[in-house]
Amino acid sequence: MDAIAMIYIFILAIFTGVEVISRVPTVLHTPLMSGANAIHGIVLIGGVIVLGFAGSNALIGALGFIAVILGTLNVVGGFVVTDRMLEMFKAKPSAKKTEDK
């Protein structure tokens, strides 16, 4: 792919990233950081590609294998932790409902 095109995408993504979260309330800083943490787990894809195209090269295969393990830890752990945090926020309306009854 064209290097210039990649740089364009890079720059546009910077603006998108800043714009998208610019109005986040303080309450959500921690969950948002955790969610972003899970999203950069996209490195997992890179690990899969390194391992999947390692061919017969044992060194690259090993590096890719470790990368996939680490990337999966990042992705799975990140999303699950974020979900647990946000679950707490959701718990409140239901608690209120039970009070109303």
Partner: protein
Amino acid sequence: MTRAYIPQAAYLIASLLFIFGLKRLSSPRTARSGNLVAAVGMALALGGTFLLPHISHFGWILLAIAIGAVPGWLLAKRVKMTAMPQMVSLFNGMGGACALFISLGEWFKMPVITLRGLHLIVTRSFGECFPMLLGVVFGSVSFTGSLVAFGKLQGLITEKPVRWPLQKANNALLFAALIAAAGAATHRQDQSFWIIALAVAALTLGVLQVLPIGGADMPVVISVLNSCTGLAAAVTGFAMHNMSMIIAGTLVGAAGSLLTVLMCKAMNRSLAKVVFGSFGLAPAAGAAAAKSDQIMREIAAAECAVMMGYARKVIIIPGYGLAVGQGQHLVHELEELLEKRGVEVKYAIHPVAGRMPGHMNVLLAEADVPYPKLLDMEEVNPEFDQADVALIVGANDVVNPAARTEPDSPIYGMPILNADKAKNVIVIKRGRGAGFAGIENSLFYNLKTRMLFGDAKKALQQLVTEIKAL
């Protein structure tokens, strides 16, 4: 032919889902679904990768995913809410290490041409090397940096800033070595020594950069390292020509940087001060000496109960001590008891209460504290004048008046909760020591302040019992 397009389409949709997910994550009502949307994007990107033409080693890939997924799931499910910040840091470090290994893997995949039986290594241009070198550096720094941050928050490494002689000179030297190694690695691509040297230098840099930073600044550090891993993902995306990695990595890098700035603003700390300066060195010594003749006034739980039970308005200031003591549920019980007696109860949440911005809200939400009772600093500060009692549970630096009055103090200028404006102040505190940042707090010696020493949970339990008995 068409098969080649499926992964690309998957990457495109995944990238959109990441943007959409982040957007939803930044609003309380939609946050949980936002996380889910992003997770679906991730699954899609992964599925698309499996369909790349000529990919092989499926068995190994699935095995590695299984090895990573099981402990990741268990850790994330089992961790206590109070330990959340270090858990985020740990997962972040894993992502950094992943980027490091990918970059090394790409690096060692030398483009070779075979000519008349001779294997010739084709030298990469600098432009091709650059993203890989950056991937090694960013990945390494966020790997070891995150592990040190994890160690500090978990109590495995001292939370106090670690200092040693010629620190800045050492780091500068290390940085120069980093650049030299990167140059040498580009120049001698046939020798793997230099790329390893680069990784080692960057790994060391990560440790040395985070070690001198005190525990109080860890949230900012984690946020910086989070965007660092995002950048690592983006540059490896450049190296591998993978759009979804570039977009997702850059999104996180940019959003993480903005988040860091927002956090620094909340703590009134410049990023440079967090990274290069530290709390709790010498500056507090003078202030501490001046106060050694002052005394803290102790109080019994029964007396506190009377003060609060017959108050009109009580503002509770929860701090990290509450969280470590697992007192969230008790504080909620206390609040309900007081409300039943007709006392108005509010919570004052400092932006950096707990260990990360928003951490305290998560902890109190876990204990079913109604959302409208949690007030931001700006909302609550004018209300302290009318409060009969400010109950401080395990908080310290966020109520230290030195931030307003003592220009020498390391926390001078940090916005604080004006607990000292309340008619009475009750402080529940484990011991007489200084706070997280290692700074003396003159509020504790104030004439209207009463200290209730003890573990947050036990002290709250006593208060609840006493109020019930009123």
